[in-house]
Symmetry: C2
Subunit: 206 residues, 2 copies
């Protein structure tokens, strides 16, 4: 049951961060000096808006499970469905982290950068927490395919480029470290191919 | 039944376009002269990769329905589930269109721009077709909530900025027109608020 409360906290927290980020982007969009900048931030704004809408559907589902104390009684179907939704939001957190890192190029004031950095660090830790909770939940699904569930996001977490470090460098500040700085892009790609097998995505249409 | 074949064609077609687009982005990422450019296109590349993975799950579902001739016999639950997945891919097509429009700033060769423009136009027409098919399918769902289903993407289709026109202007070429060029951003926002009610997203957790 504890997992569902943790998930709820994470998604409430990231929902608040979306609001903060949108509030930061809006004046950039409104005052953009060129169309490319405007299109670019408007596009990021919209993607976060889409994520917000999804979270507004997912949060009540989690609340229902918590309030009715049903965490341990979910059917295979419900759990598979939930894992599929969580997987989507795991990618959502990953993409949000990158949106924040990209925005660091736009914002130069210390206060703004600190805010972005804090949200970035929080998002990275949320991302890892969701991954961990998903692994625990997937063990409960009574299905051979799920027993073999493997993590298939190496290609996404081990970057060809270190977003945070790169944007820090560009601004001459230390922002953070990569998750797994030792692995090269090629190695990551190779591992991703090797490890990729059954995915949570394959639960989607059970 | 015809709807499912149309959907299948659309998603096969966009899957091929993702491959073409990724092939265009890879050398930009590999040869980027600055980290910001590299991060930026790598991020877009990853988002399209995520979409590709989702399509690789959705296409077999559609194939199953077509082969077994079950289009008219889907249960409420199956249809709701499918509508929820289609809604996600509708946003995916919208985002892809914007990725293509943003990429028009990077590619200056006529041949590349023509390719991007063709994919952009195809994607826009796919987006509208999916919207139309979704409206038809949602009428079949035997549920009061779905009967009232309203389109809630005005905020996404009516842009504050006209992406295609803007990138065309930036490059001094005519690329295309907006869907609804007459409506201002404020009006779009107002309409979006008024029209937003029950959404396909709300089917997600039925």
């Amino acid at each position: 049951m504890e997992e569902f409360s943790r998930l709820h906290n994470i998604f409430e927290q990231t929902k608040e961060a979306i609001g903060t980020f949108m509030g930061m982007l809006q004046p950039i969009i409104d005052n953009a000096q060129d169309e490319h900048t405007r299109l670019y931030y408007h596009h990021i704004y919209e993607e976060e808006e889409q994520r917000l809408e999804r979270l507004n559907e997912l949060l009540p589902t989690l609340e229902g499970i918590i309030q009715e104390n049903r965490g341990d009684q979910l059917s295979n179907r419900e759990l598979s469905r939930l894992l599929s939704d969580l997987n989507l939001e795991r990618f959502g957190l990953h993409n949000f982290r990158e949106h924040l890192e990209l925005a660091m190029y736009e914002f130069t004031a210390d206060e703004d950068r600190e805010r972005l950095k804090n949200m970035r660090d929080m998002t990275q830790s949320d991302y890892l927490a969701v991954k961990e909770i998903m692994a625990a939940l997937s063990e409960r699904v009574d299905d051979v395919a799920v027993g073999k569930l493997v993590d298939h996001d190496e290609g996404h977490t081990i970057h060809q480029v270190d977003h945070a470090k790169a944007s820090a460098k560009a601004q001459g500040k230390a922002i953070g470290q990569t998750d797994q700085p030792g692995e090269s892009a090629k190695e990551a790609h190779r591992l991703s191919k090797v490890r990729r097998g059954l995915t949570v995505g394959s639960l989607r249409h059970l």
